[in-house]
Symmetry: C2
């Protein structure tokens, strides 16, 4: 009796039954490492379908592919699509850029930023003014900027331990650079790629003109880090050099696209919904294997692992492939909109959208009580080298999701290599390590298993 | 007074002064990420010098290069060489191998294992018998094996979380396969490469004929994992197929080589020595950027960081580039031999020889008291995502080192990708991420700083 009481106290104190959970996690990781489908799925997404920018043929094929694969898997009670209108932006012809320094003409690698307008057909040529922050624009003022190309060249801060923090610290140049430079009469902006490495890949990504009038939109492009270093060096030698940029990108009419959802109905609380997902769209320059093919196939793998180990969730599990994270976030918003209309009760949402690298832990959007409860599970994860349970951002697609009481989380993979590939032409399947991808899927499955079993407070 | 007493108790209880150490680690990591030399050193070692098998021109150049660089660094009180005789094995002409299946002849990627004898000039052709363990050889016995090529095809166990454990679990086939197969009359052995991935790289590595007579030595080679899969499949279809292997490797006379040592004399206890090192030799198929160029330049970086942050160690620090870890371990043995002769007192030794990937922690060869003391420092490392402090192997080169009281440790980087490159032609500089390399160096420096400051018990 005393033993039972002790066991009860112990279990309720720590919020889990150590032994059976230890065994369950063992099964989960073993299944992921020896019997997974995620690597093959990603091979297909990356190498048979390729890039998947919203509104593209690739995006549509990816919708069909993941729906078909989830149906074929057999573990879902239903697989369905959610209609969502998405913006469609096309790059057009490959961009061209030159540094024109006296009589020399040096080609540099650039790519239009997502949402940018084109240059004229002849391109734009102008003197260049190098700045390192949005604030510096103001200091320089219209006299120094008008008629010029503004070159934003603040590098990602190497001193940051987490690469995401360095990305956050440099990202305003890409997101708001064109909008702000336009206000001072700039004719275009060139932004240093958000990449720690010195290499020749320009990295695209979203930018926003905000609420400035359309006629004030100016073309904006990313330049590779090597290109940025070169341009900066040349400017020091000759501040009067000019820069030529030509791009023919275009914002088209919105098109119909879809979130893809696979649902496993809960055996005890089907009304409680747990979401696990990634985003199916990717930038157009590459396969998007890390961003975010990895997160999609890892989310699908959660269902595969549950099937393989014979685990029947108590709550409803939804595997969601969100559409349009990269340049609009429409899929996440639509999912929330429909959840509200249908009065659904979401208790937990997990997103994987930080690359398919070795998992290190999770970041949680949670109240203190649930964070403490979940943190007590850390010992269960230690054998798998999962140690980092922190409070922080869950994910862009699950950000709009609200519910009476919901905890959100983001998978936290090792972040050091992520920006070597992020939004660039080398975000391809060969940059993925099978075991790292699988370990990420196992880590996600383990958390979902524990949330499903013990619920949230 | 009470406050001081409390502070004293607190400090001695936990073995460190939290705040000043926190700041010192901040400086260390910042220096590594913003002001390091290790990546450039590795670029030189890998791309200017290249492979560095013991006794090769590359190995000699690497001795000269690292000595010169440590002298140029300026942080050392002396830089010197330790003479050590090393075995010299040469691969000779590139190996050739075919599966001969009826009238088809399929070329497969192989490489001689280190220390193997050559085939005859014509090569060896024989039927193949596939086995999965040394024990299986015994079961099959001389009748089934005599005159054949034994094909060891037990894969690394994918279910292992740490890839090193999977390596350990499959390594006996490579190390002892030829010796054991020879006892049953085999004419050669082919060993599945120690690599999780299915690819076309054969992975070399040491093997030993043990004490069998020289005339019983048989040629032994590694086959790529794709090659092994194909051979196994073909054998299932035709157990009478034959295999052709030609290799012309050779064991030469021993030659003189060196450990390279940079020494910073301790300000308070110069008689106490702390070693940090890696091994300068590498296999001959590639640059050896991960194995173990990374460990060498990270060890040199420890001195660079101390110099940059102005830290003067209390104990003597020796940065040691060990020679001949891969096929003899002579450098480590020689270092210990001379330490004994000179009656040196080593208190700590740290080796980095598991690749230049994101650091996760350390494994310690330590008594319980010191392990507990060191484990109390874990919180200092958590901001850098260093969580794993376990008991385990330090490193091959520091293994022979004994002293009155010594703690040994090995840097524990993320291990998932290591065997994609280990001992194969793709262990090259492009597989190194600068920040991961630097974070490893910072993690090593931080531990050495703490050991230097607080000593061992």
């Amino acid at each position: 009796m005393k033993k039972l009481l002790f066991l009860f106290l112990f279990t309720s104190l720590f919020g889990f039954a150590q032994n059976s959970d230890e065994n369950q996690l063992k099964e989960i990781y073993k299944s992921a490492l020896t019997n997974s489908k995620c690597y093959t799925w990603l091979d297909d997404l990356s190498n048979k379908i390729g890039s998947r920018l919203s509104g593209s043929v690739g995006a549509q094929k990816a919708v069909e592919y993941t729906k078909t694969q989830m149906e074929a898997l057999g573990g879902f009670d239903k697989v369905y699509l959610q209609e969502v209108m998405v913006p469609k932006w096309v790059r057009g012809e490959k961009e061209t850029a030159y540094i024109l320094d006296n009589k020399t003409k040096i080609k540099v690698p650039v790519c239009a930023l997502g949402g940018s307008v084109a240059t004229s057909k002849k391109g734009v040529t102008a003197e260049v003014i190098e700045v390192h922050s949005l604030k510096e624009l103001e200091t320089l003022g219209i006299d120094k900027i008008k008629g010029k190309i503004v070159f934003f060249n603040r590098p990602m801060d190497n001193a940051q331990i987490e690469s995401m923090n360095a990305y956050g610290g440099a990202g305003d140049q890409r997101w708001s650079g064109a909008r702000e430079a336009s206000k001072f009469g700039a004719v275009a902006t060139i932004v240093r790629s958000l990449n720690f490495r010195l290499d020749d890949f320009p990295h695209t990504g979203s930018q926003s003109y905000g609420d400035i009038p359309k006629m004030q939109y100016i073309p904006t492009a990313a330049i590779s880090t090597n290109g940025a270093e070169l341009l900066s060096k040349k400017l020091k030698q000759n501040s009067k050099l000019t820069f030529y940029l030509k791009q023919s990108c275009q914002q088209m009419e919105e098109v119909l696209s879809y979130n893809v959802i696979g649902e496993i109905k809960g055996t005890e609380h089907p009304e409680n919904i747990i979401v696990v997902g990634g985003h199916l769209d990717s930038w157009d320059l590459a396969d998007g294997s890390h961003d975010d093919g990895a997160g999609c196939v890892q989310s699908m793998e959660v269902a595969n692992i549950f099937k393989n180990i014979g685990y029947k969730p108590k709550n409803t599990i939804r595997v969601v492939m969100f559409m349009n994270e990269e340049n609009g976030g429409r899929g996440g918003k639509k999912y929330q909109e429909l959840a509200q209309i249908n009065k659904e009760n979401h208790i937990f949402a997990l997103e994987s959208d930080s690359g398919g690298f070795s998992p290190r832990g999770f970041s949680f959007e949670s109240d203190d009580t649930n964070f403490a409860k979940i943190s007590n599970w850390k010992t269960l994860f230690e054998p798998y080298l999962i140690h980092s349970f922190t409070k922080g951002h869950g994910g862009s697609d699950i950000e709009p999701l609200t519910s009476t009481k919901i905890v959100k989380a983001g998978l936290h993979p090792d972040s050091q290599r992520y920006f070597d590939y992020h939004h660039a032409a080398n975000d391809t399947f060969d940059a993925i390590n099978k075991r790292e991808l699988e370990l990420g899927a196992a880590t996600m499955t383990s958390l979902i298993y524990l949330i499903d079993k013990y619920g949230i407070e």
